[in-house]
């Protein structure tokens, strides 16, 4: 993974000093609340319902064991002993003290971490595929490009006061696991007609109250032009994005209003000013970025022998075998497998992890996966480089710690924002709804029989739980002070991205497990052989679901 040199370290250390001074001036009454707001936000600090909430950046989801141990220490020393993995692959603390945030930032800087631009109207953490670098279907590793974007966007002086937040995602696979169509800018590594790999660039995707799938700004640009092209898009947005209405301020609204043709022209005009200038990437810089993401010391294994040995273990212990089937994926290197650690144990808030679990995962990462771990936008964690022969030992330790729930990609692997329990923006609670649904569907065999099913829950329009792109989406809404839940069906975050369609009038919280059951039963009755929920929905449409859910009880 990327390692800081003296420049990176100096920049981060100076940021800590800057925010320490700002916090002191704020506490001394020399900065108003209004002025302090964007300063603290761009250092990851929200003021929430019960306490400040602090969002720590995990650049493109990559952490090492030293960082995990530091996070465990921070949650124990400065918080209540647990952290939360967010849908942008970041780590959130729910109970830090404002006065102590500069100290937390200093602790983070010791392990090359920070909370830079994790909120506020600026360029946020760049995200990518959690299987980057190990996926079999990958064109090339997207992480060097994420790191190049991270450095360019960190403290970018021109784009710190944008009309609204700005999110960039990068992917390098046919099956898009980074949801690039739902980002302000989506970048995809693709070959051109001559076979040379470059970038396809999308803009204007996004969720929130006006969900939109991104439009293509350029089908292909040369790699060296990545930063100047991004700069041109941002400059058009910074000058022309709406600032009169917060709900119409995202770039998706600008792209719609201008039309993609006019938007492309405006970008081309700005690009002409900076293209081939000093921000053009050099071969040396690209090689430098790539040098941090080379292969770890993989051992040679015989593919067939290693797989056969694993199959034998799986057959001997069906619970282990089931976990292998549900929570691990193939690795591009023979003899290795990537393991997803589910943070979706029923009865626990989705994405939450304790200090002890963080420390255990640090040990397991050291023992089994070259000391690295990843966070996922589905709010789980990944050990990407585990030898097949080690999977059983790893699983035993995970199981003892409550981290071996075998539900990745299934109904109970719910994506869920912190909701009204923590977040002051939320209209409604989301965690109790997730827990009630998990409890209703507690028969894992039944859940497996339902096949791949993504359930995404957001407590408000801001859509942190990505409800629009869940196969089933749930949105908390406020109806005259009461919490209600609106259900949508048919969303997808994959290559065939689509936005969910609203089922009908919203429901009370206590009715949600029942509503889910009716939706699921409708699917089970209508599905063809081997047909997934999404495929069935796309074939039959929303009406059969609507009829069943809203049918009057006889």
């Amino acid at each position: 993974m990327y390692v800081y040199d003296q420049y990176d370290q100096r920049i981060i250390d100076e940021r800590v000093a800057q925010f320490r001074d700002q916090t002191q001036r704020y506490l001394a009454g020399k900065i108003t609340d209004e002025q302090f707001l964007p300063l603290r936000l761009q250092n990851g600090l929200y003021i929430q319902r019960l306490a400040p909430m602090m969002r720590i950046a995990v650049p493109y989801g990559l952490l090492n064991s030293k960082q995990l141990r530091k996070l465990a220490y921070i949650t124990r020393h400065y918080d209540k002993g647990y952290a939360h993995v967010s849908t942008r692959q970041n780590i959130q603390l729910n109970w830090p003290l404002l006065e102590e945030v500069p100290d937390i930032l200093a602790e983070l800087a010791e392990v090359q971490m920070h909370a830079v631009q994790t909120s506020g109207n600026c360029i946020r953490n760049t995200t990518t595929d959690q299987f980057a670098g190990v996926a079999r279907d990958e064109l090339e590793d997207p992480r060097p490009w994420c790191e190049i974007i991270r450095q360019w966007s960190t403290f970018h002086p021109e784009f710190a006061f944008l009309p609204r937040k700005f999110k960039i995602a990068v992917c390098a696979t046919e099956e898009d696991r980074a949801a690039i169509h739902a980002h302000d800018i989506g970048v995809e590594l693709v070959p051109n007609a001559a076979g040379e790999i470059g970038f396809k660039v999308l803009a204007g995707g996004g969720l929130g109250r006006t969900p939109v799938i991104g439009s293509v700004v350029s089908e292909w640009i040369e790699k060296k032009h990545l930063l100047t092209f991004l700069e041109a898009i941002l400059r058009v947005y910074n000058q022309h994005g709406r600032r009169d209405n917060k709900f119409k301020a995202r770039i998706k609204i600008l792209v719609k209003a201008m039309g993609i043709e006019a938007f492309r022209e405006a970008v081309a005009k700005e690009w002409a000013l900076v293209k081939d200038g000093p921000s053009t990437l050099t071969d040396e810089e690209i090689a430098r970025a790539k040098s941090f993401f080379t292969d770890p010391a993989y051992e040679p294994f015989d593919d067939a022998a290693s797989s056969a040995a694993l199959a034998e273990q799986a057959a001997a212990d069906p619970i282990f075998g089931n976990w292998i089937k549900r929570n691990t994926v193939q690795h591009r290197v023979p003899g290795y497998q990537a393991v997803t650690i589910s943070l979706k144990l029923t009865g626990h808030a989705p994405g939450d992890i304790t200090d002890r679990q963080l420390e255990l995962l640090a040990d397991l990462a050291d023992q089994f996966s070259f000391g690295e771990i990843r966070t996922t936008h589905q709010q789980n964690m990944v050990l990407a480089d585990v030898r097949q022969q080690d999977l059983y030992a790893l699983w035993q330790q995970l199981q003892a710690a409550g981290l071996a729930t075998a539900n990745i990609g299934y109904l109970t692997d719910i994506i869920c924002c912190p909701g009204g329990d923590y977040c002051s923006l939320a209209n409604a609670k989301s965690i109790p709804v997730a827990e009630a649904i998990q409890s209703r569907f507690d028969d894992l065999d039944y859940v497996y029989d339902l096949g791949p099913l993504e359930l995404n829950i957001s407590g408000c329009m801001n859509a942190c739980g990505h409800h629009h792109i869940g196969h089933i989406g749930i949105l908390g809404v406020d109806k005259k002070g009461e919490e209600f839940y609106q259900v949508s069906l048919g969303g997808s975050q994959a290559k065939d991205a689509s936005l969910g369609k609203i089922l009908g009038p919203s429901f009370k919280q206590e009715d949600m497990p029942e509503v889910m059951e009716k939706i699921i039963n409708t699917y089970v009755d209508l599905r063809g052989e081997e047909e997934t929920f999404l495929e069935t929905y796309r074939r039959v449409g929303i009406d059969p679901f609507k009829e069943r859910v809203y049918a009057k009880a006889d």
Partner: protein, 156 residues
């Protein structure tokens, strides 16, 4: 006469007065609004103030004639002026580029990076204290007006 930060120190501006948007034409010595400035027959040595939304387009044919471009920040969270400054500098403007209005001390460093060399704050009493914020960072990743080479072209 306003006090402001210019080229890294606090000075008094004895030359320019704030624009008067009500006047049909800018008085001698006053900074013109964009509308007033556009009616000037002779733009040499002139001064204009851009508001958010004005854009820089109208200024481009006259960059060599302008003595001062002021960019107003009616609210500090409206960041359009950051792009105006960078664009003016990138297109060759070398005269004084002054930030005016409600920007805050904690933005000075970014403002100076995108090409502003003068800062007229609402609270003049803050100017001396604010000088410290100009140097919040001594190293940067990206190219900007103060450092035209990105770090990746300078890393030793």
């Amino acid at each position: 006469m306003p006090r402001l930060i210019k080229n890294g120190e606090v000075v008094t501006d004895e030359r320019w007065q704030a624009p008067d948007a009500e006047a049909e034409q800018a008085a001698p010595g006053a900074i013109a609004t964009l509308a007033q400035w556009q009616t000037l027959a002779d733009k040499s040595g002139s001064a204009v103030q851009l508001e958010p939304g004005d854009g820089v387009e109208a200024l481009l044919p006259h960059l060599n004639e302008l003595a001062l471009v002021a960019v107003n920040f009616p609210v500090f969270t409206d960041g359009r002026g950051f792009s105006y400054a960078r664009e003016l500098r990138q297109r060759g403007y070398t005269g004084e580029l002054r930030a005016v209005g409600a920007f805050i001390r904690d933005q000075l460093h970014y403002l100076s990076r995108v090409g502003f060399d003068a800062f007229q704050m609402l609270d003049e009493a803050e100017l001396e204290n604010a000088l410290a914020s100009l140097g919040d960072f001594t190293e940067h990743y990206q190219a900007a007006i103060d450092q035209p080479l990105p770090l990746f072209r300078r890393r030793a």
